[in-house]
């Protein structure tokens, strides 16, 4: 057994070095190669590592980056899986790379972002100390089939994590219901009141009680199906959170200022990213930090200084053009991006890149569940929309039907030409790509402008 582990680790490290030498990312293939030799390699590599897992539909990467900063500032010796390699192959690769040739861990702690379906095995093999479930939204229904399947996958992962303290989003009726299926210690977090004065029109992914299927009533909704829900029929309702945002003081196009109540003690916090969804990510990160016994002050400080994961609103200059890249994946996430983009105060150019590869979700119907109509209300402040990616034609058509004047919509499928086009004008640029489009764009931008490669 020991020999198999050593060989697998060796293969993994060699494969990764080779692929990196060729200038590619190498996040999943090394793990896949290693598992051919030792299929449950992760179990061996994780045995002496204390693992923290972050899973859920939206917010995994941003919350992980917040936690990464917190762990760094707290002096914890850890490693994490960057660049969104959150399937079994990617996680296995990360553990192997952070182990010696004999499979001994180089760092005692691991912060792991896990895909919801992959969590079933990742939980089983790593036996985590703490698991965070951010939320459950519709996403990649071509992979998951239905929202209840996503929830079920997470439930199985939690059943496979008997020693974990589990942090759950109280405001998500689907996530909160997980409490009933597991004997683990549960810590709830949430937001104690509405965030937006006005919200985009959006469908709820969970309008009916998960237990008795009666329609929920809400005292308030923060967005989507999140809020203070109650079922008048069976009484299932939002549990009281242990840690909650007690006040939203400011939430604008660049950041939020909030008050967080941690078991009775109030803290002021600044979150360096805009949007209600990042408020949830912030309070989630503080909850995990508190559960791990880290300093709440340190966790709160990290919300202001952390480096957001690539494509999660990262800001960079391309020549003289101010650019922000924001990953879009599903209606809920995209609607939240629009919640604040619909309120921009200066003339801006939007770029949307829609791919339909496996990692993006092969069914692009979801773009019709996003309230792009709010962009037509932005009026002249929206100087134009450039559309790219494999399914650019569908995306351009969506904007036409959303009421954007046809002359403002331009399809440019070639990424070099696309970048030339938006860097040759002066307005700030917001780029919204799906996952694989983001990877492609990032690679080209890195080469052209010498930005650090995404795996660093």
């Amino acid at each position: 057994m020991k020999l198999k582990v050593m060989m697998a680790v060796c293969v993994c490290k060699m494969t990764r070095t080779l692929i990196r030498l060729l200038g590619r990312g190498a996040t999943n293939m090394p793990g896949r190669a290693a598992q051919k030799i030792c299929p449950d390699l992760l179990k061996y590599l994780a045995a002496d590592v204390t693992t923290i897992i972050v899973t859920g539909t939206n917010g995994k990467t941003t919350t992980s980056r917040m936690l990464e900063q917190t762990l760094k500032d707290s002096g914890v010796d850890f490693f994490c899986n960057k660049s969104g390699a959150n399937l079994l192959n990617g996680v296995t690769t990360e553990f192997a790379v952070n182990a010696s040739l004999t499979g001994k861990p180089k760092h005692p702690y691991a912060l792991i972002e896990s895909d919801e379906a992959a969590f079933k095995l990742i939980g089983k093999y790593t036996d985590p100390k703490c698991v965070l479930v951010t939320n459950v939204f519709r996403d990649q229904l071509d992979r998951y089939g239905e929202i209840t399947h996503t929830l079920n996958n997470i439930k199985i992962g939690l059943e496979n994590s008997p020693h974990a303290a589990v942090c759950l989003n109280a405001d998500c009726s689907l996530t909160a219901s997980l409490k009933e299926s597991i004997p683990n210690e549960i810590i709830f977090y949430g937001v104690n009141g509405p965030i937006y004065k006005e919200r985009v029109r959006e469908a709820s992914d969970a309008p009916y009680c998960i237990h008795c299927k009666h329609e929920y009533t809400y005292e308030y909704i923060t967005f989507g199906h999140l809020g203070k829900y109650h079922c008048d029929n069976c009484g299932y309702s939002r549990p009281e959170p242990d840690i909650a945002v007690s006040r939203t003081i400011v939430s604008d196009a660049t950041h939020s200022e909030i008050e967080i109540d941690v078991r009775g003690t109030k803290y002021q916090a600044t979150i360096d990213l805009p949007g209600g969804y990042n408020i949830y990510n912030g309070v989630a990160a503080v909850t995990v930090a508190d559960t791990l016994g880290l300093s709440v002050d340190t966790a709160i400080g990290a919300l202001r200084t952390f480096e957001c994961g690539f494509g999660r609103m990262e800001k960079f200059m391309l020549g003289d053009t101010q650019t922000r890249m924001i990953l879009i994946k599903n209606p809920a996430g995209c609607n939240q991006v629009l919640n604040f983009l619909g309120n921009i105060s200066e003339d801006s150019l939007f770029v949307v890149c829609l791919n339909d590869n496996y990692a993006d979700g092969t069914d692009i119907s979801w773009i019709w569940d996003v309230d792009f109509e709010v962009l037509s209300k932005v009026g002249d402040r929206l100087t134009g929309i450039l559309v790219s990616g494999i399914r650019a034609d569908d995306m351009a058509m969506r904007f036409k039907y959303a009421g954007i004047p046809a002359e403002k919509i331009k399809v440019i499928k070639d990424y070099e030409k696309l970048i030339d086009e938006f860097t040759s004008q002066e307005a700030p640029v917001y780029i919204m790509p799906t996952y694989t489009a983001m990877m492609d764009l990032r690679a080209i931008v890195s080469k052209k402008y010498g930005y650090k490669n995404f795996w660093e």
Partner: protein, 259 residues
């Protein structure tokens, strides 16, 4: 690139015509972007100066079919289906049957398609009785039929419809029901007999998400023409500049043809 016509609010009523759309169960059967069909119909009417209202009717609402010209039912997840089946039987079925008989236009997608039919039988033999408004029935199987697909539209002289299917039910058409067309790529109704969708009187039902109508503008216009004809007598719909729609359609048609 040619620009589409921008309609001013004064234009929207210039023809004096209007269509009322009934969106059934918009809060439950709304999982796969099917709302795009409503957006498409409404825009294509308003761009032609035809007024359009959309009313959502869900569980507990009584349906008065005479108020509407077009009915739309989308797809959803199994979890919520039985919430609405009881309501469909009690509050909707009678009016739906009379509207179908009266040749009102229906568009039903995926789950909506299935519940208009006779029943759904799961792979382990359990049968759920549905509304029985059109003579089709569905057998559940374990493997899902998922992917981009393409089929002909017989009513459009064989023009192709491109969409995305995602279903584990195999639907079979009864004797009085025609398919919308024949499958050119993908599975269609059941992956066996080469048919896709159902067409009965002015009911059109399909497994196509995408959404179905936006990049199949001729099919959308077919539905709108039928509804207008029923209400006002023969109507010739003004042609629209469909560059965006045709590009989106043709890209997928090319991609699916080269397999």
């Amino acid at each position: 690139m040619q620009s589409g016509r921008q309609m001013s609010t004064a234009d929207t009523a210039r023809t004096g015509m209007s269509l009322n759309i009934c969106h059934l169960y918009p809060d439950i059967l709304n999982l796969y972007g099917d709302n795009g069909n409503i957006i498409c119909m409404k825009q294509r009417l308003q761009w032609r100066g035809i007024d359009c209202s959309v009313s959502g009717l869900s569980v507990g609402d009584r349906l008065n079919a005479a108020d509407y010209d077009i009915f739309f039912i989308g797809g959803g997840q199994d979890f919520e289906q039985d919430v609405l089946l009881d309501d469909a039987e009690k509050n909707k079925k009678a009016d739906i049957l009379s509207a179908i008989d009266d040749e009102k236009v229906f568009l039903a997608i995926c789950g909506g398609y299935q519940i208009l039919g006779n029943y759904y039988r799961t792979w382990d033999g359990q049968q759920m009785d549905f509304m029985g408004c059109i003579d089709i029935s569905t057998e559940g199987v374990k493997e899902r039929m998922i992917g981009n697909y393409m089929f002909t539209c017989d009513d459009l002289g064989g023009e192709t419809i491109v969409g995305f299917e995602n279903h584990s039910g195999k639907t079979y058409l009864g004797s009085g029901v025609k398919p919308i067309g024949r499958v050119l790529a993908g599975y269609g109704n059941n992956g066996e007999d080469g048919t896709e969708g159902a067409h009965y009187k002015n009911v059109y039902a399909s497994y196509s998400h995408g959404s179905m109508l936006p990049k199949n503008p001729k099919f959308c216009d077919l539905l709108l023409s039928r509804a207008l004809e029923k209400k006002y007598g023969r109507v010739v719909l003004e042609e629209l500049d469909d560059v965006f729609e045709n590009n989106a359609h043709d890209y997928m048609q090319k991609r699916l043809s080269s397999r």
